[in-house]
């Protein structure tokens, strides 16, 4: 269960970190406020999950030890969340796809046999519903906007298509947590997810892309090259002062 929660926590931290890279650089002031909110939602969830994972591990590692002192081969996030922000279209589509998976995930996790997971689920389900709404509205606006924005949204859709599948794959650790009733079954969330995504794409007048190939490996710590740079930046101060309190 420790490892299953770590996978989930890593998804949220890495995505939150990516989204936070926009802060101060968004296309409009309203988005300079909305993007940090979305980043905070993800980072807040990651913190609660790391804390619980640390307890379960029982090795005295707290949220910061888990976030700052593991290398890229030890990070277990799916590849979707580490994808670079790209342009605003790609960031919004990535957020929509992730939130459209997590919202029903947390809804189902409200029945988890683990108190801490249920606690996270209660808060996160509302946040992910907001993320779906906000990012979904942007996918619609950009898909059905100008020729340029439509082209960019199509390009984002092509760029991210290989990474959706991994959301529905459960690692052996996650399968155990699913069997124990701690986490909902990932594969079972696909129909709901696809419904939300197809609905948004229809409103955006975009074709839903049929993936021709899919890329996984994140749950075994096999990532793209971008994650190492993300972690090097994120961990630089903490690692320069091991043992320090901040």
């Amino acid at each position: 269960m420790y490892r299953a929660l770590l996978e989930l926590a890593d998804d949220h931290l890495v995505l939150g970190h990516r989204v936070s890279e926009w802060c101060g650089h968004a296309p409009m002031l309203e988005e300079d406020l909305a993007l940090p909110n979305m980043a905070l939602d993800c980072i807040g969830t990651a913190r609660a999950l790391y804390a619980r994972a640390g307890e379960l591990e029982g090795a005295g590692r707290d949220e910061d030890a888990l976030a700052y002192f593991r290398g890229e081969r030890e990070y277990l996030n799916c590849l979707l969340v580490e994808q670079p922000n790209g342009d605003f279209a790609q960031t919004m589509l990535r957020q929509l796809g992730f939130a459209a998976f997590m919202e029903p995930f947390w809804r189902a996790a409200a029945q988890s046999s683990d108190d801490a997971v249920r606690g996270v689920a209660g808060k996160a389900v509302k946040e992910m519903a907001y993320n779906i709404r906000h990012a979904g509205e942007w996918v619609v606006r950009l898909g059905d906007g100008t020729d340029e924005s439509t082209g960019r949204m199509r390009a984002a859709s092509d760029a991210l298509a290989p990474y959706w599948d991994e959301l529905f794959l459960s690692s052996p650790a996650t399968q155990e947590a699913e069997a124990a009733g701690i986490l909902p079954e990932r594969a079972g969330l696909r129909a709901n997810w696809e419904q939300v995504m197809r609905d948004v794409f229809a409103q955006a007048l975009l074709d839903w892309p049929e993936a021709t190939w899919s890329q996984g490996g994140g749950r075994e710590g096999r990532h793209g090259e971008g994650l190492g740079h993300l972690l090097a930046e994120m961990q630089s101060v903490a690692r320069a002062h091991p043992g320090a309190t901040w």
């Binding site: 101060g24 700052y68 606006r141």
Partner: protein
């Protein structure tokens, strides 16, 4: 006589002596001036300039702190810093909205910032070099901003005064949070203490410069005082800030980088050494370490986002047209 400041009045208001006397009487009676009220053109322009500069400062101010969001050394600090930078953006948003009540658009103000016609607080032209700079900015820069802004809660222009009440509450939280970062560093390892002292050394003098030139050299002050846009002089506010801050530095075990900083019993405040006004003017005029990068970053965000803003407008038009077509069927 404050009417002497009415340079460039565009005649939107007929500024007869009776009108000006009545306006002055309202100001003297501490009445709030609201957007739809008649006001001298100079008053309107002064406020547009000041509120615009204030809004721009919040927006540009997101950059030096944003520089550390991705490197914050703990998840708690990362979340707090994100929330703080988001608050600064929120302050920018209400301030632009307050300025818009005076008949200028956010787009116009943004263009003035990007092409260099509008200024922002020069403090943000200094770089953030270590994590301790994040603590120091909260403690000193937000601390100085509060000293400047508390009197603005009583500013004669209603929307600005009301925006300042909320902004000051949040700034005061940021200031305490910044000081708490410093306290944690100063109770930490030697390397952390050194980092804290180094940050104080670099930010102390620029923070004192935030109050603006000495009273004798301050060009807009007298008029703004008469209009009750401004309530205390630059030197008065600077003195209040020094008096509040030096004991806080002592409590941290840090030394203010001014050998002439000493308690003066007779005046009941601290004396301080000479401020390097040449540096101040050089940085205001574009010669700071980060001036060009700050504007370039804002310009890049604005230019890169143009297609997004355009798409949002076009989409809204399409929806409206479709709705109208459906209604017509």
């Amino acid at each position: 006589m404050y009417a002497q400041g009415l340079i460039g009045a565009d005649g939107r208001t007929d500024e007869t002596p009776e009108f000006l006397a009545a306006f002055k009487a309202r100001i003297d009676a501490e009445e709030k001036i609201e957007p739809k009220d008649a006001m001298p053109e100079g008053y309107r322009r002064t406020l547009i300039r000041q509120i615009g500069q204030h809004a721009h400062s919040e927006i540009v101010g997101m950059l030096p702190e944003g520089n550390w969001i991705t490197r914050a050394p703990s998840l708690k600090r990362k979340a707090a810093l994100l929330a703080k930078v988001q608050d600064e953006g929120g302050h920018g948003l209400y301030l632009y909205a307050a300025a818009e009540t005076l008949g200028v658009s956010r787009e116009e103000m943004t263009e003035e910032l990007l092409d260099g016609r509008a200024k922002y607080s020069s403090i943000f032209n200094y770089p953030t070099l270590t994590w301790a700079d994040i603590g120091t900015i909260g403690w000193l820069v937000d601390g100085a901003a509060i000293m400047n802004q508390i009197p603005l809660c009583r500013c004669s222009f209603g929307p600005y005064a009301r925006a300042m009440i909320r902004v000051c509450k949040e700034e005061s939280f940021h200031q305490r949070q910044g000081y708490e970062i410093m306290l944690t560093l100063c109770r930490g390892t030697q390397a952390q203490k050194d980092m804290a002292q180094d940050a104080l050394n670099r930010w102390w003098w620029p923070s004192l410069m935030m109050f603006g030139p000495h009273d004798a050299d301050s060009t807009h002050s007298d008029q703004s005082m008469a209009w009750k846009i401004k309530r205390f002089s630059n030197d008065e506010l600077r003195q209040k800030f020094i008096d509040a801050t030096v004991p806080q530095a002592e409590f941290l075990g840090l030394t203010v980088p001014d050998p002439e900083c000493k308690w003066n019993e007779a005046k009941g405040g601290y004396d301080h050494g000479p401020i390097d006004w040449d540096e101040f003017w050089r940085v205001v005029k574009g010669g700071g370490v980060m001036n060009r990068e700050r504007i370039a970053a804002r310009k890049k965000a604005w230019d890169d986002g143009a297609w997004v803003r355009e798409a949002a407008l076009v989409h809204a038009e399409k929806r409206k047209a479709r709705k109208a077509a459906m209604a017509a069927e």
